[in-house]
């Protein structure tokens, strides 16, 4: 059969030659290999003191964005939940009443919005599906918990706070905002 890779090797069990029988050249060769490894630079990241540098487009914990005036972008259209391959997103929608214009950008908003972080596979499809630039994945890491239900993040954890806005400009393609 024609071989599919170029890694095919013919194995032989010929008796060892004298050079092989005295083992020493092989041992010295092995020791050279280990010496090379000894002199190599360590790639270890000593975690608590050092942390790994994330790529600017790292897909970590989600954020629900507010617009420039601090109003929630999300209109509870449900496209993110439809797009989600892990079915991690659930939401209920509500109608904006008079006097809430400073809270929600459009007439409809999500009264509850939950992401199950244990189901989420951080694929970023929700972000891609969102027509309102409301949901983004960030470079934050979902923290560990002891109870499973603590991994279901509600709006209190997902919506960015007014004082501590989260920068997602690195995740935006240029011109995307005008399109949406």
């Amino acid at each position: 059969m024609e071989s599919l890779t170029n890694r095919k090797k013919v194995v032989s069990d010929k008796p060892m030659t004298l050079w092989e029988k005295i083992y020493i050249p092989a041992i010295v060769g092995g020791m050279m290999t280990t010496m090379r490894h000894m002199l190599r630079r360590r790639k270890t990241i000593k975690y608590p003191e050092e942390t790994r540098v994330f790529a600017p487009v790292y897909r970590g914990q989600h954020v629900l964005k507010r617009d420039e005036q601090g109003r929630e972008n999300c209109t509870a259209c449900g496209l993110c939940a439809v797009a989600c391959p892990a079915e991690a997103i659930t939401m209920t929608s509500a109608e904006r009443v008079k006097g809430e214009e400073h809270l929600y950008r459009e007439e409809k908003y999500a009264s509850s919005y939950e992401i199950n972080m244990l189901r989420c596979i951080f694929c970023g499809l929700c972000e891609e599906a969102c027509p309102k630039e409301a949901i983004f994945l960030t470079d934050r890491i979902v923290t560990t918990e002891f109870e499973r239900d603590e991994f279901i993040y509600g709006k209190e954890k997902l919506v960015e706070s007014l004082d501590d806005r989260i920068d997602i400009t690195k995740r935006q393609f240029t011109g995307k905002r005008t399109e949406k």
């Binding site: 041992i27 092995g30 020791m31 280990t34 010496m35 490894h37 000894m38 790639k43 000593k46």
Partner: protein
């Protein structure tokens, strides 16, 4: 023997004891670091800066563990086993000349605890007793794996002692003395025995690895086959003593290899110095040689896999002993020729 001599020797013995233990402790650290480097890891670095307090933490852990003696074990033999191992590992250091004479308090202090005229024989005798510690420990544990480990250790010891002795005899032939002091003095400067006896050194080095139960000859403590080998049943500081004695004997046998083949405390250009400066420099040179040997032994351990037991026996009896004997015969003929006996 006057009182000052007694004090001088006691201080030297105490110093040697502490240094051997300290070196053994830090060998464990160095070994772990080296293993880590070879495997592209960082190694212990949490206890103190660069992890240098790791041996102390390990020792404390050993002390705090439960000291357990199995119900069916022979209690007294079980207890003296690690003691014998440690004793034999430590006592060999008494005949090694650690440096040239040191002048302190108006006295000429020899840095050798005891200058036996049969130094080499003493070393070989003590090293052979070393296997008793392992054998007794393995036997007294009343555990088949321990016994297997002990049997392996002793058969390996017997097989390799022969080649080791024969390769060391060539040095005795060249020097004409069994005293380690004479052997070192005959290698003054760069006149090291390894240049005259490379084959003997080679055989001696390999057999030393086997005597130390170090890789690639570490079958007595083969975890995958023997659950740890002769010290399977040991815990707490008794286990600690076994492990410790292994490192101590590694230190001592590195010193002996340096003494016999690499000129001991001699170093090139040593005639330019004298007195205490020479003594300090010679101790440093010797320590450096010991360090290099320890490094190479560890380097080998983390490079090559273990021998199979039949391969080990094959290497010992069918390769090393014939090589050592031929080497001894050739040396004998050359020595006799030079002396005009032929």
């Amino acid at each position: 023997m006057d009182t000052a001599m007694l004090i001088e020797k006691s201080v030297l013995v105490l110093l040697l004891f502490l240094i051997s233990l300290g070196v053994a402790a830090y060998q464990t650290y160095f070994e772990r670091k080296l293993a880590a480097w070879i495997q592209d890891r960082v190694g212990p670095d949490r206890a103190g800066p660069f992890g240098i307090l790791q041996p102390i933490a390990d020792g404390t852990k050993m002390f705090l563990k439960e000291d357990f003696i199995p119900a069916k074990a022979d209690k007294w033999l079980f207890i003296i086993g690690p003691g014998i191992s440690m004793f034999t590992a430590l006592i060999t250091s008494s005949v090694i000349p650690w440096g040239t004479n040191l002048s302190l308090f108006g006295r000429d202090i020899s840095l050798q605890v005891a200058d036996f005229n049969i130094g080499i024989l003493f070393v070989f005798g003590v090293v052979s007793i070393g296997v008793y510690g392992i054998m007794i420990g393995g036997w007294a544990s009343n555990n088949k794996y321990s016994l297997y480990g002990a049997i392996r250790a002793s058969s390996q010891m017997i097989s390799y002692e022969l080649a080791m002795g024969i390769s060391a005899i060539t040095i005795v032939m060249l020097t004409g003395s069994l005293s380690l002091n004479d052997i070192v003095e005959s290698q003054h400067g760069m006149n090291w025995n390894v240049f005259y006896q490379p084959v003997a050194f080679f055989v001696f080095f390999i057999t030393s690895l086997a005597e130390l139960n170090r890789a690639p000859f570490d079958l007595p403590e083969c975890e995958s086959e023997l659950i740890g080998g002769y010290h399977t049943e040991y815990s707490s500081m008794k286990l600690g003593l076994y492990l410790f004695s292994e490192y101590t004997s590694m230190f001592v046998s590195a010193a002996i290899m340096a003494t016999l083949f690499f000129g001991g405390y001699n170093f090139p250009g040593m005639d330019a110095f004298s007195g205490n400066v020479l003594a300090i420099l010679s101790i440093t040179a010797f320590a450096l040689k010991i360090f290099l040997f320890i490094f190479v032994i560890m380097w080998i351990r983390w490079t090559i896999p273990r021998f199979r037991f039949d391969q080990l026996m094959h290497l010992g009896w069918k390769v090393l002993i014939p090589v050592a004997i031929v080497n001894m015969l050739i040396t004998g003929i050359v020595v006799a020729w030079n002396q005009g006996w032929m």
